[in-house]
Structure formats: C-alpha cells, structure tokens
Amino acid sequence: MEIILLLITLLFAGGLSFFIKKGSSAGMVTLSGQIIAAVFSFLLCVRAAGGVPLEVLNFFYIDGLSAFFLLLIAVSSMATAFYSLWYFKNDENTGFYYFLFNIFVFSMYFVVTVNNLGMMWMAVEITTLASAFLVGYRNNKTAVEAAWKYVIICSVGITLALFGIILFYYTASSQTGLRNLNWTELNAAGKFLDPMVVKAALIFIIIGFGTKAGLAPMHNWLPDAHSQAPTPISALLSGVLLKASFYAIIRFVIIASKSVGFSFCGNILGLFGIISLAVAAFFMLVQKDIKRLLAYSSVEHMGIVSLGFYFGGKAGIFGALFHAFNHALAKSLMFFSSGVIIKKYGTNNMHQIKGALEVLPFAASAAFLGMFAIAGLPPFSIFMSEFTVLYAGFKNGFYYSSSALLIFLAIIFGALLFHFSSMLYGKKPANMSASKESAGITALFGVMLLFLLALGFHIPDFLRTLIGAASNVIFGVE
C-alpha cells in the first residue's frame, strides 16, 4: 500500500509544482513531496528488511534488494530537492524543472519496485525521457548537444536490453511455458532456462543497461550529460540513476546465475568494471572541467561496484552494495559543493578556479573533505566499502584484478588531489571577495559529511540488515 501512496505523492507533487508560478513555492512542494515519499520508502524498508517480500496488486514486488535501492533513492532525492531550492533561488519559471524532477524520481522508484521486467524496462526508458529536458535545461548549444547524445545513446542501449529481455522470455516460455515477464516467476523458472540463450541474453542486458549504468566503454554520454545538466540533476544522475540501471542488471543476473552460474555473470561485469576504472583513471588525469572530473569519477565507482560482483562471495556483494550507497552520498556532496564553487566563479574550468578556500570557506572545505571521501581515504565510509571489495578480491583469488584496482585507485587519488588542491589553494582572483554562504546549504554539507564519517566507523544495524536482506536476494537465500 505504501508504494502506491509513494508514487501518487510524487505525481501529485509533480503536477502541483508545474502549476505554481512562484519558483520557491514549487521547490517547497517538491521538497515536501520527496520527504513524504522518503517516509513511505523507510516504512517499506522496515517491512522488507524482515526478509518477507511484499507484493502489491500482483504488480509491485518489494524484497530486500528493492528496499535497499528504495533507501538509496529516498536519501539522494531528498538531499537533491533541498539543494535545488538553493540552486534555483533566483530563477523564475522553475515549475517545469520541478515537474520533471518529480517525474524523474517517480520513474526511478518505479524501476526498483515493479515486478514485471518489461515494465521495469519501460521505467528505465522513462528515466531517460524524463531527464532529457533536465539535462538540456539550459537550452544552449552544449546543453542541447549533451541532451541529444544522452537520449540517443541511452535509447540505443535500452533497445539492445529489450532484445535481451525477449531472449529471456523466449527461453522461459519455450522451456516452462511461462506466460508473463514477472521477475518472481522467471526467477523461480531460472534453473530450467537454456544456458546458451541465457548467455546471449545476458550479454545484451549488460551492454544495454550498462550503457545507462555508466560502465565503460558505453559511458560516452555520461560526462557530457553530467557536465551540462544543472548541478542538482548531475547529482541525481550520478547518485541514483546509474544505480537504478545497475539494479536492473542485478535483477537479470540473479535469474541468469541459476542457469549459467554466478561466475559467468560476474566475469562479464568484471570485464566492464576494469575497463571503466582504466578509462576513468586516464580521463581524470587529463581533465579540465570539474563536473566532467566528477562524472568520470562516477564511471570509476560504478566500475568498483561491478568488480564487487565479479569478486563475488558474501563480502564482494556486501561491499558492492554498500559502495553504491556510499557513492550516492559522497558524489551528491561533491556535486553540491562544486556547484556552489562553480556558481561563484562562473566557470567549470578548473584552471580558472583558484583560492576557493578563501572565497567560499565552507563549500570548499566540504569539497575538500568530500574529495578525500570519494578517493576512498579512511575514515570515510567509502574506504570501508572499497576495502571490503578489495578484501573479497584477494580472498577469492583474483590477484591480478585486485592489484589493478589498487593501482587505478592510487592514480585516481593522485588526479583528484592534484586538481582539487590547485582549485582550493592558490591566490584567489583579485576581483573576487569572500562571500556569506547560505546556512541551509552549509548544514546540508555538514549532515552529509557526518553520515559519511559515521558510516565509516559503524554501519547501523538497520542498514546492515537491509544490505544483508539485499544480498540474500542475490544469493537466492530464502
């Protein structure tokens, strides 16, 4: 029941924001909508964490895995709605923005809760369509170029994924006479599926949804879209959209592993994971644009999540899921704080940003600390999840890939440190004076940093149970 209320709330908030003339009120409506939606998803998490999946109307299906992603979406979209208020505080006519924002978040909630895999495919496509105008929101040359590439590349990916879904349906219907695409029933039929068909299907699925999940070499849309979208949308794309697409991959991997074994699925993900890390490391070293730097960092982190699945085992999966959560938090923080800096300096070019610590002490410190967090330094929580993934790698005997992961992490840390220290220190431009920063935004940064720190020391039981429930779904433990 909560899920229906949740989705209705978002639609209602979207519709209402569209018709409100005043920008800030539309933002408030959206923020309240996200908060109510988050409350409902917490309720769902509490119920699903017990291990008993919820089925609603034979249409929605919420188990531990869905619940974990619900939490991820809820946290990020709430923070982003709050940040949007500040980001668009001087803009009029933001009704359209907030309308699309709600539809975008709605479609992501839909992806992780719907049972029918065909409908899930459709929901993933709707995330693209809803966010297309958000990416092209500025409506200048570069924004339209980025939006065009985004829609075209992601639609192609999604179309290939549909081919994979049809192959899954083909083998299920010819082997077991299944007449629908419900995940629960496909999963139950998993071990009867023809392994060869499943292998072919899985390649299409991983390439297709992997395009949207930002795995290299299908990531070309990602830096463009992230750099041209308004900053809150960049955070949402990076923090949640990539994970929602990865969720789609996980759902199919669970079914496929029953027929072709988990290691086959893991190997494909591992290959894309390593490529993603290598591509990200290279482009981060030579990057000039701060938002593109962060975008490539998302490619890197999705690579780490994929590697977690490659390494497998309880530790690998736990690390991967926990990493997805940490990355959503840390990357949102990075985009938010960089957004403040970009707004002040009026440029994305890192060579033109100097002395940010002097000009914007709070935002720049948040960016600096956040940079250490996304680079995976202790005591931040990303260190814990990366460490878990690495541990799984070495424990399960993946010495080469784990060592490669370590090397890439070192390169990326160097790149981040180099870029950020030159932006934050140095002499501030003469015409720029230190300015008062918004208290709300500073508080948001503080809360997010606190979360990242606290999770690094101790994972609350609630989150641990939730991730446990999610990995039970992946391993097929009843």
């Binding site: 065909g118 496509e125 409506n139 075209i152 349906y169």
Partner: protein, 212 residues
C-alpha cells in the same frame, strides 16, 4: 510460407533504407517496413482470432505507419534542411556492411542458439540483423533525423523478434513499449528543432564541442 516471405521483406526494407540517400525516402521505407509488421501481426491475429493481437496491430498501424512518419515529414518540412542525409560511407559500401551484419547475426545465432528450431532461428537472425542495421544507420548517417529513424528501425527489429520467436511479449508490455517509442520520438523531435535553431543545421558530426 507467406509469413516467412514477409519476414524477409522486413530485412529487404532494412537494406533499402541503408541504400537510401534522401531522408524522405528513408521515412517512406520505414513506414513500409512498419506496415509489413502490421500485416504480420494482423494475419497472426486473424489466425488466432485474438483481440489483444488486433489491438497491437492497430497500435502499429496508428503509431508506426501513420503518426511517426507524418510527424517526421512535418519536421523536415518545417526546419527546411536539405533532403540529403549525409553519408559517411557511400551506398555500395553501406550495403556491403549491411550484408556483413546479416552474416554476423547468422553466426551469432547459430553459435549461441544451435538448439533453436529452423523457423524461429531464421526469424531471430532477421530481427537481429534489422536491429543492428538500424544501429549502423544511426552511427553512419550525419543528419540527426536519420538517427531517430535508425532508432525506430532498431525497435522494429526488436518487435519482429518479440512477435516471431515468442508468441508476442505480454500484452501490456507491448502497449507500454509502443507508447514509449512514441514519446521518445516526440522528445527527439523537439531536440531536433532545438538543434536546428541553435546550430542552424542538424549535422550530428558537428555536435562536437564536448570532448574528453
């Protein structure tokens, strides 16, 4: 028999689209290809007397044969760009590559799915070829509108797969997918307008400001 004939005609249409040099020809051929899919679905519906297949056939006719081609022609008239599509590779080479794609699909399906029965296998080879040919058109044609049609050709290929190797993907998924395609084309159309007004052309090879 005539079902197979129609499936091969769908592939033939894909080849003609590869050969097409003008955008208007591409749209007409796309409408024809979709019409073949309509006929396929309609004959299937008549055979089984199933209402849901009639609805799906009706949707194809309304969306892919009539609405989308009309919408695309309207855009071309409005933005007044030259009708040529801009080929990266000339027609002969394009057709050669399309043939290669078909061969590749053949080997892929035969290797991965050797157990599949002959008719289903042939249908799957055709649909995979059509899908990949659509992708080829998206990559190797310069005009933004050609990319939209390429995407639609891919969708047609997928639809053929769904219709011929399974007995139709579940009904409401099918409806959702058609609706989705329709919305996607509308949104892409809006972006074509925007590209045209900002850049005064719709050549995607010149959309290259964002790099690295």
């Amino acid at each position: 028999m005539y079902i197979e004939l129609m499936q091969y005609s769908v592939l033939l249409m894909a080849f003609s689209m590869v050969a097409a040099k003008r955008f208007s020809a591409l749209v007409t051929l796309f409408a024809l290809q979709s019409f073949l899919l309509f006929l396929l679905t309609f004959s299937e519906a008549a055979k089984n007397g199933s209402t849901r297949l009639y609805i799906v056939a009706g949707l194809i006719l309304a969306i892919k044969v009539i609405a989308i081609p009309a919408f695309l022609s309207r855009i071309t008239k409005k933005i007044k760009v030259p009708d040529g599509m801009g080929l990266y590779v000339n027609t002969t080479l394009s057709i050669f590559i399309a043939a290669l794609i078909t061969l590749l699909s053949y080997y892929f399906i035969r290797n991965f799915l050797p157990a599949m029965d002959k008719e289903a296998g042939a249908a799957l080879i055709i649909s995979l070829s059509v899908t990949l040919i659509g992708l080829f058109i998206m990559i190797f044609r310069i005009k933004a509108l050609a990319q939209v049609v390429g995407l639609l050709i891919m969708e047609n290929g997928i639809f053929l797969a769904g219709a011929s190797i399974t007995d139709g993907i579940p009904f409401f998924v099918e409806i959702a997918v058609s609706f989705d395609v329709f919305v996607a084309v509308m949104i892409l159309g809006v972006f074509v307008y925007r590209i045209n007004s900002l850049f005064t052309h719709i050549d995607v090879d010149k959309l290259n400001e964002l790099k690295g």
